[in-house]
């Protein structure tokens, strides 16, 4: 069958562009390191706004998208006054009471909040696992409320990568097959899945663990497999829900470094959900959630007022 070889295919610009993206990492990573060493990364980046940084991202994403693609904005996720109300035993419970925020492409943001603050609900909405009760939520340029379950599944498949606290790897399944799982639902042929999964595992430094099963891997390695799985489908956003929650500090740091590196190298936006300030501080932007509202947002990239400073 055609397409089983990972050879360049004019109908599929992604592989080439991915390679183009990868050719940049050294400088990007260095840049971020330097910025962090300066200690003024967040401010600097926020000041620069859409200038140099965003231009680089735009260049990458332009190459990633088909020329005719409708999504040409710099915004990966755009929420406007989003609420989510659950009905529990006939009682309406408001988990989110009106949240507006934008996540730009290539951004690294942390959503912070105590348990019960609504951050999980927000993450489920951002990840298209759920639909808002009211408000407008656009993910990858598509309005979530207007999509069917099937379209939502396809949107998750193409746009979102998930990293979970408890890894959620399929037991008795090799690392490579776990990583290739999102590609199954994209209809990617098996041979190509294997090739791309191998590549993704190499990117997280697990080339020597391709055929290991989750039970044969350490916690840190399992989370790295999960990160490879989140990246393999070339999403716009990786949503990481307490990715270090089940790991010790050192391993957690390694996972964070990996996420930072991938954010820089691949230009993929990373949204981190955590209740640990240490972890959240590593992100360029912190979004504090309390009682279903955004309490504080350190950097609305697009400059639109998202409740900053309230």
């Amino acid at each position: 069958m055609a397409g089983t070889t990972p050879a360049p295919d004019p109908a599929r610009p992604e592989p080439q562009s991915r390679r183009a993206g990868q050719s940049e990492p050294p400088s990007g990573a260095r840049q971020i390191d330097r910025e962090r060493a300066d200690g003024g990364w967040t401010e600097e980046r926020a000041e620069r706004g859409t200038s140099e940084h965003a231009t680089r991202e735009a260049a990458i994403f332009e190459a990633r998208e088909p020329p005719s693609g409708a999504r040409q904005t710099n915004t990966a996720i755009d929420a406007e006054d989003v609420t989510r109300t659950y009905r529990m035993d006939g009682v309406a419970v408001s988990a989110l009471r009106g949240v507006s925020l934008r996540i730009g492409r290539g951004e690294f943001a942390a959503i912070l909040g105590p348990s019960g603050s609504g951050k999980s609900t927000l993450m489920h909405l951002l990840g298209c696992l759920d639909r808002p009760t009211t408000g407008v939520l656009r993910v990858g340029g598509r309005e979530v409320s207007k999509l069917s379950d099937t379209e939502l599944a396809e949107l998750r498949n193409n746009t979102i990568g998930f990293v979970f606290q408890s890894f959620h790897l399929l037991a008795r399944t090799s690392a490579r097959e776990n990583v290739g799982l999102p590609l199954v639902y994209q209809g990617v042929p098996r041979k190509e899945r294997r090739a791309r999964a191998t590549e993704a595992l190499a990117a997280v430094g697990l080339s020597h663990r391709l055929d290991h099963r989750p039970s044969q891997l350490s916690g840190g390695e399992q989370q790295r497999v999960a990160i490879a799985r989140a990246l393999v489908g070339e999403p716009q956003v990786v949503l990481a829900d307490e990715p270090t929650g089940n790991l010790d500090t050192r391993t957690g740091n390694e996972v964070m470094e990996l996420l930072e590196r991938l954010n820089a190298e691949h230009g993929v936006a990373v949204v981190l959900v955590t209740h640990e300030p240490d972890i959240a501080d590593r992100a360029a932007r912190q979004i504090h959630i309390r009682d279903g509202l955004i309490e504080r947002d350190t950097g609305a990239l697009t400059g639109r007022d998202t409740g900053e400073g309230t």
Binding site: R156, V184, P189, R190
Partner: protein, 396 residues
């Protein structure tokens, strides 16, 4: 492509839960094997009976008292020997009328003894039913019948069992505890007819038999028609004549074709009933599959949630579980067919029960087991497909 993946995942899931899969499959295996074996036995019996009836020879009309049907209680015959002469005058030639009176009796000669079917026959039985004799003997004659001679013609099996390799003609056998009969002839081997071992019969004059058994009726009459075209006329004539003679009694005159039809219908219905009973066990097996699939869906809630989060659509999840259910029943079906065919062949080989595999029974069993998988897999698969990924991911 996705279906191949789903098939692979399903195979893996079955492999991981090997014991459970095997036990679940067991119900389907037993059901399918039972259907295949019972249908094989049913059709084997039918084939056999049909062959035997065909072996009776054509153009024969059997006259029996009462309404002819299988399963009806046999009616005690009121027909007597005089009816040969009576019917002979009606149909024109009494040489084509055979009568028999049957009873199971012990037969002894020297130290050898066996239980055999003793047939009181008139001299026409051999011609009507076309029973060849071994050289060196003779059949019963009209004189034997008229003078109630104690002579006997042995079936080949009786001859073998009682006399071994010795030629029995001219020797004596004791029938029914004492009465001695002289052997005048031996039948050629003919095998079974009508479920009766014709080779273990002994024919004695019907008059002698009546005295021996203490009765004065005959069990049934058989007439040979000169041609097939003559049969309908013969049937009405005979029944009318007998009903005139025995007012209020019923008689039936049936042909080989009618016997075939009736027996075929009866055995066909019997096969159907057996298959239906076996199908119930298949149904129960299907419920088992459904049950286990529901357990499997519950157990794998997190996996389903994960797959959905990674982009599996509802129909991807549904097809994954449906394929798993169908795989389970199809595999069970194939094993069941194998066992069923094997058992049928074994039964046919080692027991007198005939068993014939008809092509449609494994095909039907296979189709049904696939259908059972689809039917009983739909509910669990749809439940899996509808799971909310948020809730599914949260479950521990």
């Amino acid at each position: 492509m996705r279906y191949r993946e789903a098939l692979r995942v399903a195979l893996e899931a079955l492999r991981v839960n090997r014991l459970r899969s095997a036990l679940t499959m067991f119900g389907v295996v037993v059901g399918v094997a039972a259907v295949v074996v019972l249908v094989a036995i049913g059709s084997g019996a039918r084939n056999l009976v049909e062959q035997e009836i065909e072996g009776l020879g054509s153009n024969i009309v059997f006259v029996v008292p009462g309404q002819f049907s299988f399963g009806a209680a046999p009616t005690v015959s009121r027909m007597t020997l005089e009816d040969i002469g009576y019917l002979g005058r009606v149909v024109g030639d009494e040489r084509n009328i055979a009568v028999t009176l049957n009873s199971g009796e012990t037969v002894r000669a020297g130290k050898s003894q066996m239980f055999a079917s003793v047939v009181g026959a008139n001299e026409n039985v051999r011609n009507v039913f076309d029973r060849p004799l071994r050289a060196g003997g003779r059949y019963l004659t009209r004189t034997d019948v008229e003078t109630r001679r104690r002579v006997v013609v042995l079936g080949s099996e009786v001859a073998q069992k009682i006399f071994g390799d010795v030629d029995p003609v001219g020797r004596q056998v004791a029938i029914a505890g004492g009465a001695r009969f002289r052997v005048v002839g031996v039948f050629e081997e003919i095998g079974q007819t009508f479920g009766q071992a014709r080779d273990s019969e002994l024919h004695i004059p019907v008059t002698t038999a009546q005295r021996l058994f203490g009765v004065n009726h005959v069990d049934f009459l058989a007439l040979r028609a000169s041609s097939a075209d003559d049969i309908p006329r013969l049937q009405t004539q005979v029944v009318d004549a007998l009903q005139r003679k025995y007012p209020g009694e019923q008689f039936s005159a049936v042909t080989q074709t009618q016997l075939l039809g009736t027996i075929g219908t009866v055995l066909g219905a019997l096969t159907g009933v057996l298959a239906a009973i076996a199908a119930i066990s298949l149904l129960v097996g299907g419920v088992g599959v459904s049950n286990i699939m529901l357990v499997s869906v519950r157990e794998r809630t997190r996996e389903i949630g994960l797959r959905k989060a990674l982009g599996a659509r509802q129909r991807d999840v549904v097809s994954q579980f449906l394929i798993e259910a169908v795989l389970l029943t199809t595999l069970g079906g194939v094993i069941g067919i194998g066992l069923g065919v094997g058992a049928a062949v074994a039964i046919a080989a080692v027991s007198p029960v005939p068993a014939a595999i008809v092509w449609w029974s494994p095909a039907l069993a296979f189709t049904v087991s696939v259908a059972v998988g689809v039917f009983f897999g739909v509910v669990p698969a749809r439940r899996a497909g509808r799971l909310d990924p948020v809730i599914a991911l949260r479950s521990e």
